[in-house]
Amino acid sequence: MSARVGVVTFPGSLDDGDAARAVRIAGAEPVRLWHGDPDLHGVDAVVLPGGFSYGDYLRCGAIARFAPVMGSIVDAARGGLPVLGICNGFQILCEAHLLPGALTRNQHLHFRNRDQVLRIEATGTAWTNAFQPGQEVLIPVKNGEGCYVADPATLDRLEAEGRVVARYVGGNPNGSQRDIAAITNEAGNVIGIMPHPEHAVEALTGPSLDGLGFFTSVLKHLVGAPA
């Protein structure tokens, strides 16, 4: 039986369809989850897709974080459920305190939309074990509030514990501190990433197939994980 990977739709999610497609291309069964439904329907992992969730009125992800489904996801993530937050999903994970730090307005104030080279720094996580340490991948970014900030002590801890998952290479699109593009929690099951791996899974629609590695990683992780 193939793994079931939930993809949450919030009001304003716009990459939920692409995320579900990426899950399917990677070889898993996508399960659509609704923000208002706290039931995770027995999924083995969850993707919080990109978009412009309703919390953005106040601060990106601030209200989405209180969606009924998020209560279940926070509990399950603390228990080891793999969770990948992409773009707005990253913001929601920070607001939910599953990840440290915050995402703020891009330093240059421009929305950035381009293909971006990233260096994968941590390959021991649930979502990056298919990559080689130091591997460079090409994945689109598209964000207006993608500038990752945290206090220096938090940044130092992330670096020391190997929790910076990916860094921007060849230009920082949003001013993120220390070129951070993705981070993980202590256990390595929760990842927040600002670029969009789900947009780099097919030659027709993406600049590369590099994004697929995130989704095949979680399948590999689930096979190895205790039932």
């Binding site: 106040l58 601060r59 601030a62 209200i63 209180f66 920070c94 607001e95 440290p100 730090g101 915050a102 703020t104 307005r105 891009n106 330093q107 240059h108 104030l109 900030v149 945290a150 206090d151 001013g175």
Partner: protein, 87 residues
């Protein structure tokens, strides 16, 4: 009914690019003596009963501000201070 005013500001050490953009526009108005501009958010809360500053503080801490990047202050609004009173 008195309102509670919550002012949310980015912490001083967090770069405020919006404030900077505004500051950079001021010379075009002929203003040259402004050193910096910081932009925040003002939220007015009206309770159904008596205004409750402790409750407002809790709301601000949990939802209105992100303590990772923002500071906030909570106070009672003066009678003539709220948006409705002025209009």
């Amino acid at each position: 009914m008195p309102r509670v005013v919550v002012d949310v500001m980015l912490k001083p050490e967090i770069l405020d690019p919006q404030g900077q953009a505004v500051a950079n526009a001021l010379p075009r108005l002929g203003v040259s003596d402004v050193a910096s501009v910081r932009i925040g958010r003002r939220i007015e809360i009206e309770f159904t009963g008596e205004p409750d500053l402790d409750r407002a503080r809790e709301i601000a801490d949990k939802l209105l501000a992100n303590p990772v990047i923002e500071d906030f202050t909570v106070r009672l609004a003066e009678a003539d201070e709220t948006a409705d009173a002025r209009s």
